[in-house]
């Protein structure tokens, strides 16, 4: 009988150690998920900074030719500054919309300036900005995936038992603005 109790005690100790390790693992996972969200956010910010720099170069290069297109340059500059000020995903989405709108207007007006349009650096800036926009979109998807993983995990059992008491909270997803979600009016583009 003593033998059975000793072996049972050993099994119980191993099970308790595994349980403790499991709880620690759950906590570490939540911390890791949270850090991952922060990291993916930072990765987007890196590209946003690159885009800001390219926008600045684009505006500087275009200023000489577009001196009388004050309104267009102002719109582009203000969109760039709005992007710099954005803090939350909602503000970033709105700033993105402003930048894209200003760039679209810029590209449309560029047609009237063949000399400016054909400048190599102008083409390079636009291509570069386009590449960066694609990468920003990719990284926003990754950010949303990271946020979804975190938000789901802190609501799931048994993580919920330690998430709330230890202060883990949901994070905001990056969502498109209303304008982005509306259908494109192709006819209006040709008016």
């Amino acid at each position: 009988m003593v033998l059975v109790w000793i072996v049972a005690g050993f099994v119980a100790v191993v099970v308790l150690v595994l349980l403790a390790a499991w709880i620690v693992s759950m906590y570490n996972q939540l911390v890791s998920l949270q850090k991952r969200v922060d990291q993916t956010k930072q990765n987007i910010d890196v590209l946003l900074k690159q885009r800001q720099d390219e926008l600045t170069k684009l505006i500087d290069a275009a200023q000489e030719y577009l001196e009388h297109e004050r309104e267009l340059l102002t719109e582009l500059t203000e969109a760039r500054e709005q992007a710099e000020r954005a803090q939350t995903p909602t503000e970033e989405a709105q700033a993105d919309e402003a930048v894209r709108g200003a760039l679209a207007g810029f590209r449309a007006r560029l047609e009237a300036y063949p000399d400016l349009r054909s400048q190599t650096n102008m083409l390079q800036f636009q291509e570069r900005i386009s590449d960066i926009e694609e990468q920003i979109a990719d990284r926003r998807e990754v950010y949303n995936e990271a946020v979804t993983l975190l938000n789901t995990r802190i609501k799931q059992f048994p993580y919920i038992l330690i998430a709330s008491p230890l202060g883990f909270t949901s994070r905001e997803l990056f969502t498109a603005t209303e304008e982005d979600r509306q259908d494109v009016d192709v006819g209006a583009a040709f008016e």
């Binding site: 050993f10 990291q39 590209l47 990719d138 990754v142």
Partner: protein, 380 residues
């Protein structure tokens, strides 16, 4: 006297038995730990978001795509096609005769591994957005599913299937070729030329009269334009010779991943021909027809769907898009670098199934061995 007798411990197991039980106990604990580690690994993979190749950021990353070779490939050992990773083994069933203390002979058949090998080459993982280099030969753990693994068992006297025969023939040819090159390498300063592309050392010796073997080696391993009258042309530069021994013609002297690069690197380190051929593994030989034989391989074929977990790091001095400036290596934070032909959910299921199994098996091993150890000491 009663006190002294109480201190005596009677045991029913000899020392060797206790040692075995002790090892099983410790092994059981190790298996429990390994099971828990599989659980943590499954969670790590599940908690890491997938990144498109085009916009991978530096740091921990997870990518899905297909395998695109980055240069070197290998023949699938016992089948058709090329691969960037292969692990193979050849086993023979042999009889082992043991004799009991009372003289009774026991004949037992056991499988013995007579040859094995493992080859890995870097490759690109390509998805819809782009591709990125995976330094698979830098310590990756390969998890290959049954779809890309195969075992062939042959009965006694059964001839090798064509594809197995082809593997041994190719291996023998490469072994002969490598031995040939290595013998030439050892004739200095041919060694200087082939191993280090050291033109100065070569020319300082003033080679005019080369042996037939040296002439043949020059003609065989250097481009036709570099050799005249069976000797190295005077106007050939060190860079040209170095470039001839590398696949991409990189101007910086380096040990490439091709056969010559491996031989040169191993020559400098004083390793053997067998090592040059197999990268350190055993040289394959045809197993005997008089025994049952088993051939096993696991491969990651070119163009196969692949999952990669690791860390994206910049390539020194490289700039441009991700394909040009990043490579995936081991993640320093977790020590993991996983490459699999399973997709993410398949891999997570694979680890999640194994975790409780290993824990239960480990618990049974350690609890069982503890039981017999204590019983051996007379605890009831």
């Amino acid at each position: 006297m009663p006190a002294a007798r109480a201190m005596q411990v009677e045991t029913n197991i000899d020392l060797e038995g206790y040692l075995v039980l002790g090892v099983v106990f410790l092994l059981g604990l190790a298996v429990i730990y390994w099971g828990f580690d599989r659980y943590r690994l499954g969670r790590l993979i599940m908690n890491t978001p997938t990144q498109p190749a085009r916009s991978i950021a530096q740091g921990r990353t997870e990518v899905h795509g297909r395998v695109v070779p980055a240069g070197e490939t290998f023949q699938v050992p016992f089948g058709p096609g090329d691969c960037v990773y292969r692990r193979w083994s050849v086993q023979e069933e042999r009889e082992e005769v043991t004799t009991d203390g009372d003289g009774t002979r026991h004949v037992e058949k056991k499988w013995h591994t007579v040859a094995s090998g493992r080859d890995v080459a870097p490759f690109y993982v390509e998805d819809d957005t782009g591709r990125v280099l995976v330094e698979a030969d830098a310590g990756a753990d390969f998890e290959i599913s049954n779809e890309n693994s195969e075992s062939i068992t042959l009965a006694e006297g059964q001839a090798l299937p064509g594809r197995v025969e082809a593997f041994f023939s190719e291996s023998a040819h490469r072994r002969d070729e490598t031995a040939d090159i290595f013998e030439v390498l050892q004739e200095t300063p041919m060694g200087a030329l082939f191993a280090k592309a050291d033109i100065e050392a070569w020319r300082a010796e003033g080679h005019e009269a080369l042996s037939e073997r040296q002439r043949e080696a020059l003609v065989r391993h250097l481009p036709e334009a570099y050799v005249t009258d069976g000797n190295l042309r005077q106007d050939v530069t060190a860079d040209e010779v170095a470039g001839a021994f590398r696949e991409e013609g990189d101007p910086e002297p380096d040990y490439g991943d091709g056969l010559m690069g491996r031989i040169r690197a191993l020559f400098d380190r004083g390793r053997s021909v067998a090592d040059a051929f197999t990268g350190g593994g055993s040289v394959p030989s045809r197993p005997s027809r008089g025994r049952r034989r088993r051939f096993h391989h696991a491969v990651l074929p070119a163009d196969e769907a692949v999952y990669v977990f690791g860390s994206a790091e910049p390539i020194e001095g490289a700039t441009g898009s991700n394909v040009e400036r990043l490579r995936i290596v081991e993640d320093a934070g977790t020590g993991r670098f996983i490459i699999s032909d399973r997709d993410e959910s398949g891999l997570v299921k694979y680890y999640n199934r194994r975790a409780p199994l290993y824990i239960l098996v480990g618990l049974a091993m350690s609890a069982g061995s503890l039981y017999f150890i204590l019983r051996g000491f007379g605890v009831t």
